[in-house]
Symmetry: C2
Subunit: 144 residues, 2 copies
């Protein structure tokens, strides 16, 4: 569960490349707050816009840098689809996604498909470690 206080704690416990601890700044706390309980799969821009309402001078690069660190810490997931901006998800358990082909709306799908396997002929000698299913369709708003 992604909570502001949990993540602040983990940030302070985490070492930089020089072995020194990372810091919790007001900017970072705001970014964590914008992610906490957020199931909207925001982009870096979305987070930036939201955070700027209370901290008008925050830089987009700061948002990107913080999100990148959270991804590296395993606290959020980065979702890359079809050449669009990355979206970020504070839900990190294994799950699939459902994408609207019309408006791009993206929903979490709890169900996973760990059993999928392919034939030896198709395997090309690979050692398969995981798979990844994306469902495409039309969301309620885009169905006329």
């Amino acid at each position: 569960m992604f909570t502001v206080e949990e993540v602040c704690k983990k940030v302070r416990e985490r070492a930089t490349i020089d072995g020194n601890p990372m810091k919790v700044t007001p900017q970072r706390r705001l970014i964590f707050k914008a992610l906490e309980g957020n199931n909207q799969h925001p982009t870096a821009e979305n987070i930036h816009t939201q955070v700027r309402e209370v901290f008008p001078d925050i830089s987009l690069a700061t948002v990107y840098k913080t999100l990148r660190e959270l991804v590296e810490m395993g606290e959020i997931l980065e979702i890359k689809h079809e050449g669009e901006s990355s979206r970020f998800d504070p839900r990190t358990d294994d799950h699939s996604h459902l994408v609207c082909e019309d408006c791009g709306r993206l929903e979490d799908v709890s169900q996973t498909f760990p059993h999928l396997s392919i034939s030896d002929a198709d395997r090309h000698g690979f050692a398969i470690s995981r798979n990844f299913v994306v469902f495409y369709g039309h969301c309620p708003n885009c169905q006329n």
Copy 2:
């Protein structure tokens, strides 16, 4: 089946936005040739490098433009994965892909998974039209 002569024919039959026919140029013929029977999933750069051996002055933009048109015509597939350059595939029948997590090697998987479905709770009211499975693993060369 993607063949140079087939594609040239389809290009000449195809109309531009002004209703005039598209043309077959030596540059385009070379790009078609580089794609014919190519199961290496080349990038635009790969195609450009290959084509430049016989046509040194061809522009990368020309390669991109031609590939874009082939995608729009449905003659090739564009494969977008994980923030890398797009790869192009003259095989257009429905198939999955297998990606090496170490070197990025990409193979076609003939098998498809049309039967996958998700629960009502996960469906979020979407009308699902298709799914898309990608397998990740380690290719023979990257297994030590």
